[in-house]
């Protein structure tokens, strides 16, 4: 009797190591994107509707997921970070199981259980817990069921579900279906077209399900308008030489420093030297999936590291193969090659960054001031201290009708003593000259309801506003708003030379 493969018991201690490696992520503060997701989740958990009480450009699934977490733990960043840690651990356990089922050597899996969490943790607070990282589980399952090639309807339904979830997190992740089509036409001797049709139908149905709450609430028009705005947003940056230069510079920098030279080296070693007949096909399709997902990053034109990590589930498997090949083939000794290779792993790897993340975690617990100052610097989005200061100021006022107008990160709203209630995580969505009229109206409802307003005067991000100017510039650039503020509000104070705080005049 053939027994189903079980996970090697020796892997258990590697799961513990992986957990220890991922642990510092719990200390990371709220990032600008996480803040937006939490904001959306909070509004929905409190009974609000997507595209009627909250507006953002991501597909709905992420907000419902965050609403679910919010309804259990509230608007608590630590709880969200725990969720992410558990999610990544689940991904690691699942991947270890799937790789075992694919009869991949335990030592490769062990390497994966160290290399993957290292690469994830060192991304720091902004590039983890994104839609891309939430798609890791569906992406690895999709690949597994494809390469397993049992070609049953059951498997295609599972593939459809996983593809659908990936799509519902981010539409462009659907590009992996092209990978499946390549497999379908290249590898399958008997092609049953009904199966891929079934699996894409299931995928689309899952995407449809993620929209169901919006459809049922009658908010689909809000979604359509969001997509019109998104189309404008997607045009930026324009295609041209400058974009190519930016992409190359950015990718070279991020692959070199964040992914690291040593990982890229192991990846190269795996590509060149992994020649085991049984594994060559896995290698080939891992590479195809990586290339397709890499292509999707370039197509999106928004080259942030968190966009790039969509390739990690596949890439890190090859990196793990590379490490085992290196250990097996390299003669470590007192020689110049060993010196270079070991130096590379010590200096040009995620190790030093990882040590730094533990320092962050240490500071989070024992030296909070240093922690806040680490996350408060000249970089445009690293302004944790400012967010805390705004929230502290507003909390002292004790009025929950607080409207925060800024773009690029509204983390302040999660440090408030109450649930933030207003609709826009980015003021650009209603202040941009290209904002839909319905957005402006939705904002005006908030404006008329609010008693305290904070307006950011240094958040001029062309990529989101699609025009020059900060929230402050664009808000007061509109005569109607200018007059409304003049008539109904007084300037209370200016915090940190950039946040203008207005208070409603007592009637």
């Amino acid at each position: 009797m053939i027994q189903a493969p079980v996970i090697d018991k020796s892997l258990i201690k590697y799961f513990i190591i992986a957990l220890v490696i991922l642990l510092p992520t719990l200390a990371f503060p709220i990032s600008s994107d996480l803040s937006v997701f939490m904001h959306g989740g909070s509004i929905i958990a409190n009974g609000g509707g997507l595209f009627s009480d909250f507006y953002d450009i991501k597909p709905p699934l992420i907000y419902y997921l965050f609403a679910g977490i919010n309804s259990i733990f509230g608007d608590n960043v630590f709880a969200f970070r725990i969720f992410d840690l558990l999610y990544q651990m689940s991904f690691l356990v699942l991947t270890a199981y799937l790789l075992t089922k694919l009869e991949i050597k335990t030592k490769v899996i062990k390497a994966f259980l160290i290399l993957f969490p290292l690469s994830y943790t060192i991304l720091n607070y902004r590039d983890i817990f994104q839609t891309e990282s939430l798609a890791f589980i569906p992406l690895i399952l999709y690949f597994y069921y494809m390469i397993k090639n049992e070609d049953s309807y059951k498997h295609h339904i599972i593939m459809g579900v996983t593809l659908g979830i990936a799509l519902a997190f981010k539409y462009t992740l659907g590009i992996v279906f092209v990978g499946y089509l390549i497999y379908f036409f290249k590898e399958l001797k008997v092609r049953n077209y009904a199966k891929p049709v079934l699996h894409i139908t299931v995928a689309l149905f899952i995407v449809f399900l993620s929209f169901l709450p919006i459809i049922l609430r009658g908010d689909i028009s809000g979604f359509v308008e969001t997509n019109i705005y998104l189309a404008e947003y997607a045009k930026y940056p324009p295609i041209g030489i400058e974009l190519v230069k930016t992409i190359i510079n950015f990718l070279s920098y991020n692959f070199g420093t964040m992914t690291s030279i040593s990982y890229l080296f192991l990846f190269t070693v795996a590509i060149i030297l992994l020649k085991n007949k049984r594994l060559v096909q896995i290698k080939k399709y891992l590479l195809i999936f990586i290339l397709l997902l890499f292509g999707s990053v370039i197509l999106e034109r928004k080259i942030n590291m968190y966009h790039v990590i969509r390739i990690y589930p596949y890439m890190m498997i090859l990196v793990s193969f590379g490490l085992i090949i290196l250990i097996e083939r390299f003669r470590f000794g007192r020689n110049i090659s060993t010196f270079v290779i070991v130096s590379m792993f010590l200096i040009l790897s995620p190790l030093l960054r990882f040590v730094n993340t533990y320092k962050i975690a240490f500071d989070r617990v024992f030296n909070y001031e240093s922690y806040v100052s680490y996350y408060t610097n000249d970089m445009p989005f690293t302004i944790l201290g400012q967010h805390i200061e705004i929230a502290d100021y507003i909390n002292k006022k004790g009025d929950e009708k607080f409207l925060f107008m800024n773009t690029g990160g509204n983390q302040a709203v999660h440090y408030l003593d109450f649930d933030y209630r207003y609709k826009f995580p980015h003021s650009a969505f209603h202040l941009s000259p290209k904002a839909p009229l319905s957005y402006k109206k939705a904002f005006e409802e908030d404006l008329h309801d609010a008693n305290i307003i904070a307006i950011d005067s240094s958040d001029d991000i062309f990529m989101i506003f699609l025009s020059e100017g900060s929230s402050y510039d664009l808000f007061f650039g509109e005569k109607e708003y200018n007059e409304y503020i003049d008539k109904n509000f007084t300037l209370d104070t200016v915090l940190m030379d950039r946040y203008f705080i207005y208070e409603r005049k007592i009637k």
């Binding site: 920098y253 692959f255 070199g256 420093t257 080296f265 060993t338 200096i347 030093l352």
Partner: protein
């Protein structure tokens, strides 16, 4: 064995030389202007460390005195010289690697990749002492690598080491690389000691010879004074955790963003390959020699504590050859791949190779020919100081049109390119105002600077040349000079502000009564 055996050898070399020829269209860089200024002052009868002060060894300025006597201020001729020099280096390398029987594909790749790596450094980082090192470096390596030792090898190695030291003192570390290389070759300790001592003695003799103009003019004590002062600069930035972080950051950036991920990974691949079990590789010791030289030269950059691209290029002759060998092995491994697979891999490889940067550099000849040199160079930036060349052109044009004296003094730090565009020869002593304006400057330099000011009729003073590395604080030339009450008082009393050019260069003219 002859290297040139078929048309591809000629074609690839031609391609390499064509790539190198792009440097002819580069403008003057800030460092090049400094060298030219030194050469100009020496040519006009000035003495080093009396009439001109800079950090490099004397040989560099005597060499530029020679170039200045031939090229004057014609930048294209200097660039042409660099092109010829790099071509000679490339041909020497091909000859040497072929003579040492390196893999043919690797040599072919080198003949294109080396020019590519050099040219993509762009104009600020080419024609530096580091790039002048390439030629002595490769011959030095050859003399230790060749199987049959010649009668004069030790002597020539000593001379080459001496030249290297006189291009930059820290290049003396080559001797350490050579010792390690000899250890790899399993030479006896006795022979290593004898060879090293002979080399060192000859190198010191060469140094003595190249210092002879300074010695004979009786200015050696001035050299020593200035050399001691320059140690202040070599102590900056301070060693510590931040320095380590910056070193790793800039080192990684150089290897991945500048040199390119693909070439760097190829170099690492051959290091791995050489150290692999059960693999017999031709020329193993020679490759280990390349690794040792690249590594030790990189260590010298770290020791200098200035992780700048032009500093790091000193490892290119060895690093590029390592990349070439690595790449040739990878290509060999990929034989048999399908065309579509190769096409896809090639796309990604090109993206992360120096090719996109090379394409960007190719705009130089096109723009120079279509727009004209000045117009195009005015759009270029060096460092973070904005469109600095444009500003230098504007100041030079103003001075040429509005003054009729050669007593024009430039007080700035970080780039004195404009002196190459004055209608007259620049005559004053400092390429960097920080040398006499920073708080650690010795009195005699301040006095010399004051002499320059007293002699001048026109002063150009920059107000945005902050450079912590040079001033040791956040001052500019303007703010620093304003703190020096004696000098500033003299300027205020005897000069009148004429105009400000490009918001950053304040022009003062001496009052007519003075």
């Amino acid at each position: 064995m002859k290297y040139f055996q078929n048309k591809y050898d000629y074609l690839l070399l031609t391609l390499g030389i064509l790539i190198l020829s792009l440097t002819v269209f580069f403008p003057v860089s800030s460092d090049m202007a400094t060298f030219i200024q030194g050469g100009m002052i020496l040519k006009n009868g000035g003495a080093l460390y009396v009439d001109y002060f800079d950090v490099k060894p004397p040989f560099v300025y005597y060499f530029f005195e020679f170039l200045y006597s031939m090229f004057g201020k014609n930048i294209t001729l200097y660039r042409l010289f660099d092109f010829v020099y790099q071509t000679v280096f490339l041909l020497s390398s091909i000859y040497i690697f072929n003579k040492l029987e390196f893999n043919k594909t690797a040599i072919r790749l080198f003949s294109v990749l080396m020019p590519m790596a050099y040219v993509t450094l762009s104009f600020p980082s080419t024609f530096q002492v580091e790039s002048l090192l390439f030629l002595p470096l490769i011959w030095y390596y050859y003399l230790e690598s060749k199987s049959q030792t010649g009668k004069y090898d030790k002597l020539i190695k000593g001379v080459l080491l001496g030249i290297a030291i006189n291009l930059k003192y820290t290049f003396g570390i080559l001797l350490l690389a050579d010792i390690l290389y000899m250890l790899i070759q399993k030479k006896s300790i006795r022979s290593i000691i004898i060879q090293s001592v002979i080399q060192l003695i000859i190198a010191l003799a060469v140094t003595l010879l190249l210092f002879s103009p300074v010695l004979l003019s009786g200015n050696f004590h001035s050299f020593l004074d200035f050399f001691n002062y320059m140690k202040e600069y070599s102590n900056y930035p301070a060693l510590g955790f931040s320095w380590l972080q910056e070193t790793i950051k800039f080192g990684t950036s150089f290897f991945t963003e500048h040199y390119s991920i693909v070439l760097f990974l190829s170099a690492l691949y051959i290091v791995f390959y050489v150290g692999s079990k059960n693999i017999e590789i031709e020329n193993k010791k020679l490759i280990q020699g390349l690794i040792v030289f690249a590594l030790i030269l990189f260590v010298s950059v770290v020791i200098e504590r200035k992780m700048l691209n032009y500093h790091e290029q000193r490892i290119f002759p060895f690093l590029v050859m390592l990349s070439s060998i690595g790449l040739s092995l990878i290509i060999k491994e990929m034989k048999g791949y399908r065309k579509t697979t190769i096409a896809i891999i090639l796309f990604v490889v090109i993206l992360f190779s120096p090719i996109p940067r090379l394409l960007n550099i190719m705009r130089f000849p096109v723009a120079v020919i279509t727009k004209g040199g000045r117009a195009f160079y005015s759009t270029l930036t060096e460092g973070e100081e904005g469109q600095i060349l444009k500003k230098h052109f504007a100041v030079a044009d103003y001075i040429n049109a509005n003054t009729n004296t050669d007593k024009v003094l430039l007080i700035n730090t970080g780039g004195n390119e404009m002196i190459c565009y004055f209608d007259f020869d620049y005559k004053y002593s400092f390429p960097q105002s920080a040398f006499y304006l920073n708080e650690r400057a010795p009195e005699y330099l301040k006095e010399k600077a004051f002499e320059n000011i007293k002699d001048s009729e026109v002063i150009i003073l920059q107000n945005n040349d902050q450079s912590h590395i040079m001033f040791f604080n956040d001052d500019t030339s303007l703010s620093s000079i304003q703190k020096n009450l004696l000098i500033w008082d003299y300027i205020v009393t005897n000069f009148k502000q004429d105009t400000i050019i490009e918001d950053n260069f304040i022009i003062y003219k001496r009052n007519p009564s003075n």
